[in-house]
């Protein structure tokens, strides 16, 4: 007996090694490094699961006998052989790792520190994970039936067809590559769900073995495609390669098997009784009756309440936190689109002289409010009080469209004075009177009044009595430089045409502050300055040229369509067209990532609460064994029994989610209407912003309900597979 197990282990452990040997030869083209390691580990885990599968399949006695479906729904894996197999994999891997199996290594490179062979052997030489993988395979194998392979094939076919269809449809979704990607991923998710649904429906059972095998096949296929395919695929995202590969190793398989499980259980619930039966009528009644009965039962009742409260808290926290994050994001978005171009046309090279023509061509597109050329460059700006970098934008102050938003946020001074710098206060020496002194005490004595003495400001002499050009700066910059309307600032441009005796010398210009704006966006108020277009062309040495043409549009959510139209009209290369979303891609994707991280973190609360739902249901199922048997003896199908406990869990999950939704939306409404004052110096916003995004709310609700649904599957499945005779014998 023991010898047999040992030999079984040696055979299956050896099989892993042989498969690795065979596999890595044709893969010699993969250079050592991240990809080689990733491929190596992936392949060796695949072979471990595979050999476990073989072990499991061999261990079954009578796969389709009458007892298999009714009495022993889950066969145990042959654990002694699993341990023996992984022990042998471990020993052989260790030997190979340190001694180097002759002939094992395809190339010296593969044996190196980053090589594929080394990664494979290293993966073998880790004992416990190997047991898990071999065990997983063996468990699946032990529960295979005669038709399992055909159902896996059906699953793969359905998946392929569905993915092809959905990704074909995804192209109609939008112009934006980002949205197309989202639609494609959603299509893959839907396809996984569909595979589960179709297979379980057609097979008339939960078919989890088949579905999990399908998910594994797809997961490995996807992973190896990316790991062995062109580098460009992994480089398409901004993340480092090893992170992409790690994410690909874990996420798709887990997500797909979860979705298949959801689809599969639904397919079984609706069709597991041998015909299409969407009714939950009596099941709902039984579920309600049991929940009510168990509420009075101290322990189960308490855990039930905690589970519901947990779901409620999680959903509430998600809604409130994500709404506040949306609020900040929205605030940022309004400030960005207020201050910057909505759509921008640029040109490769620096000969954008035909900007007036481009302006004319795109100006009358439907939805475009204005089109104006601008010059853009960076410089140093300074006064005696301070120094700062600045982004200078040369604009036409007279163009009412493009400057609309800037005029709106002007705090002091006058934008149009850029055109008439002589009108700027202080352009000519002026006489200011100080404000009348304030009476400080009611018992005013002599000295309370001081003589009003005229003060002459701006004593700086101007060379040649020339009028300085104007500049408009932001409030924060104005504070750092202590430069207010009428004051003179020095601007130094690194790019300059002037050639001094020692090569190009930086060009220094003086400007007089014509106005100060306040957008409420710190970065913008601290960095941006505006001068008149011709001044800018001269200053940056771009005679008759522009940096680009900026468009303002009526509806900023319509920029994808408008960009497309602009692109068509200007005729592609050498022109490039970008909308505000693309210009701030990093910022918005960082915000999105932050949101996703928050979603996952707070989702954990719901997750934990859903474990309590599992606990409650398992306890109820254990206490109700006899009743389950009785209901089965009256003719309830397995699917019908499963429905009872799914409904029971969903009552808790949906109840908690609805409560959480109400409370969360209530809190958001409260914050919106009564507001929470924020320290403006820190947050740069006066009130806690709240934006309740209904898409997000629906996603949160759907996620909470899906998680609680998933939590019901295991207990409901045990209830369904409970043999009808058990519990009937005793009173």
């Amino acid at each position: 007996m023991a010898l047999r197990v040992l030999l079984l282990g040696l055979f299956h452990g050896g099989l892993v090694l042989v498969l690795e040997l065979v596999a890595q030869r044709p893969l010699g083209f993969v250079a050592s490094g991240t990809r080689a390691q990733a491929t190596g580990v992936a392949l060796s885990t695949m072979f471990m699961i595979g050999s476990g599968l073989l072990l499991g399949v061999r261990s079954r006695a009578n796969p389709d006998g009458p007892t298999s479906s009714m009495l022993t729904p889950w066969r145990p894996a042959p654990w002694p052989a699993v341990w023996a197999t992984s022990a042998w994999t471990f020993v052989l891997g260790l030997l190979g790792f340190f001694l180097g199996v002759p002939g094992f290594i395809a190339s010296p490179e593969a044996a190196g520190p980053g090589g594929m062979a080394r990664a494979m052997l290293g993966a073998n030489a880790v004992l416990l994970p190997a047991v898990l993988l071999v065990g997983l395979g063996a468990m699946l194998g032990a529960n295979c039936r005669r038709r399992t392979a055909s159902w896996v094939a059906v699953g793969l076919l359905v998946f392929g067809a569905s993915v092809a269809t959905t990704s074909w449809l995804a192209r109609f979704v939008s112009y934006e590559p980002g949205l197309i990607a989202v639609a494609t991923v959603a299509g893959v998710g839907f396809s996984a769900w569909l595979v589960g649904f179709v297979v379980a429906w057609a097979a008339g059972r939960l078919a989890f073995v088949e579905l999990y095998l399908t998910a594994l096949v797809l997961g490995y296929a996807l992973y190896l495609t990316f790991a062995l395919g062109p580098t460009a695929w992994t480089a398409a995202s901004n993340l480092p390669e090893e992170q992409v590969l790690l994410a690909l190793a874990l996420f798709p398989t887990v997500a797909m098997s979860a979705l298949m499980m959801v689809g599969g259980s639904l397919g079984f619930l609706l069709h597991g009784g041998g015909r299409f039966d969407p009714s939950f009528a009596y099941e709902g009644m039984v579920a309600q009756r049991y929940l009510r009965a168990h509420r009075r039962d101290g322990f189960v009742g308490t855990v039930t309440v905690i589970a519901v409260v947990g779901i409620c808290l999680g959903v509430m926290a998600l809604i409130v936190v994500l709404s506040i994050m949306s609020g900040f994001e929205n605030d940022l978005k309004t400030k960005i689109v207020g201050a910057h171009a909505h759509v921008e046309v640029n040109k490769h090279g620096d000969d954008f002289t035909e900007y007036a023509d481009i302006e004319a061509r795109v100006g009358d597109i439907e939805g475009v409010l204005s089109a104006g050329a601008y010059v853009f460059g960076d410089a140093m700006i300074s006064t005696d009080a301070g120094l700062s970098g600045t982004l200078i934008k040369g604009i036409d102050p007279a163009a009412s469209g493009p400057t609309r938003d800037l005029r709106r946020i002007m705090e002091k001074g006058e934008l149009l004075n850029l055109l008439a710098p002589e009108k700027i206060p202080g352009a000519r020496p002026a006489i200011d009177f100080p404000p009348p002194p304030i009476k400080t005490s009611s018992t005013g004595t002599a000295g309370a009044y001081e003589l009003a003495v005229p003060v002459i400001r701006d004593a700086q002499p101007l060379p040649g009595n020339r009028v300085l050009p104007g500049i408009v700066i932001g409030r924060e910059l104005s504070r750092t430089l202590r430069a207010y309307v009428g004051d003179v600032v020095k601007v130094v441009s690194p790019a300059s045409e002037e050639i001094g005796p020692l090569g190009p010398t930086p060009k220094l210009n003086r400007f007089r502050v014509a106005g100060v704006f306040y957008s409420g966006m710190y970065e913008y108020d601290a960095k941006f300055t505006y001068i008149e277009m011709r001044q800018a062309q001269r200053f940056f040495g771009m005679r008759k040229r522009a940096t680009g043409v900026e468009l303002k549009v009526a509806d900023i959510d319509d920029t994808a369509r408008i960009s497309e139209e602009v692109r068509r009209r200007v005729g592609g290369e050498p022109y490039t067209v970008k909308d505000w979303r693309a210009m701030n891609k990093e910022l918005f994707s960082a915000l999105l990532l932050e949101k996703i991280a928050m979603f996952v973190a707070l989702g954990m609360i719901v997750m934990v609460a859903s474990f309590l739902i599992i606990a409650v249901l398992v306890m109820i199922v254990l206490q109700r064994k006899k009743e389950i048997a009785v209901i089965k003896s009256l003719g309830a199908s397995d699917a019908s029994i499963m429905k009872i406990f799914v409904v029971e869990g969903l009552i808790l999950g949906v109840g908690g989610a609805v409560l959480g939704l109400l409370v969360g939306i209530g809190i958001c409404a409260f914050l919106e209407n009564f507001g929470v004052k924020l320290d403006e110096r820190i947050f740069y916003i006066e009130r806690l912003p709240v934006v309740l995004d209904w898409v997000e709310v629906s996603v949160i609700a759907a996620a909470a309900i899906t998680i609680s649904y998933l939590a019901t599957i295991y207990p409901a499945m045990t209830a369904a597979q409970h043999p009808p005779v058990e519990g009937l014998r005793d009173d």
């Binding site: 597991g272 041998g274 009256l634 009808p724």
Partner: protein, 229 residues
């Protein structure tokens, strides 16, 4: 519609063995039996002789270790779990030794349960249940939970539940065990009446040889086999 010569149930070589810590308990050792439609059969036997086990197996609540049961020529244990469930729901009425009513449900709901499982709508199901309860003489107790009924009343509710869908085959495991002579006779009258009216086939386990006498065909469970008395 069905071949008159085809037995309703044809049981061949039915064996059931339990394993308890390596020890084998052979409860059924090859039962052979043909049951014609409309027959009334009583089974007696010592306690622990395997009568309940036999009923469970032919009622498809349990699976045999060996042998097969044919229902109108069809092997029942070849059916899928879903088909078996429908078979139990439509064809078989079961009365358990310990009545096994659902404690959270009223008598009416208990009796309506098989109909509800068959997706008959609630009103119609409860209508039938009410009729059935009237028939067993409990029309006035329909709102009571099993805990509020006496043992005999519970057993009558269980019989009403077994018969509510008009099954072809009634498997009754000591349905009158808890009843006094008169009530037991009443139950037997009811079963006989259903047999006459609908051609119900009855297999009834009892300890009382007096009641067994009432059945035209009498069998005894002996050494894991059924022998005629």
């Amino acid at each position: 519609m069905t071949d008159a010569s085809l037995p309703l149930l044809r049981i061949r070589g039915l064996a059931k063995t339990y394993w308890l810590e390596q020890k084998q308990i052979e409860v059924l050792r090859g039962v052979d039996l043909d049951v014609m439609a409309g027959e009334r059969i009583s089974i007696i036997g010592r306690s622990g002789s395997g009568k309940s086990t036999f009923l469970h197996v032919i009622g498809t609540l349990d699976v045999p270790t060996q042998g097969e049961v044919h229902y109108l020529g069809e092997p029942v244990f070849q059916k899928s779990p879903a088909e078996l469930a429908a078979f139990r729901n439509r064809t078989i009425g079961f009365v358990f030794q310990f009545h096994h009513l659902l404690p959270e449900f009223s008598a009416l709901e208990n009796v309506a349960m098989p109909a509800l499982i068959q997706r008959i709508d609630r009103g119609a199901a409860e209508g039938r249940a009410k009729e059935m309860l009237d028939l067993v003489g409990l029309g006035h107790r329909i709102g009571h939970r099993p805990g509020e009924l006496s043992g005999g009343e519970q057993q009558r509710v269980a019989i009403a539940r077994a018969l509510v869908l008009g099954p072809r085959l009634l498997l009754a495991d000591e349905p009158t065990g808890n009843l006094d002579e008169a009530s037991a006779a009443g139950i037997h009258d009811l079963i006989d009446e259903m047999n006459r009216r609908t051609g119900l086939t009855v297999i009834l386990v009892t300890h009382s040889s007096h009641l067994a006498e009432r059945m035209p065909r009498r069998l005894r469970m002996d050494e894991g086999r059924l022998v005629p008395v």
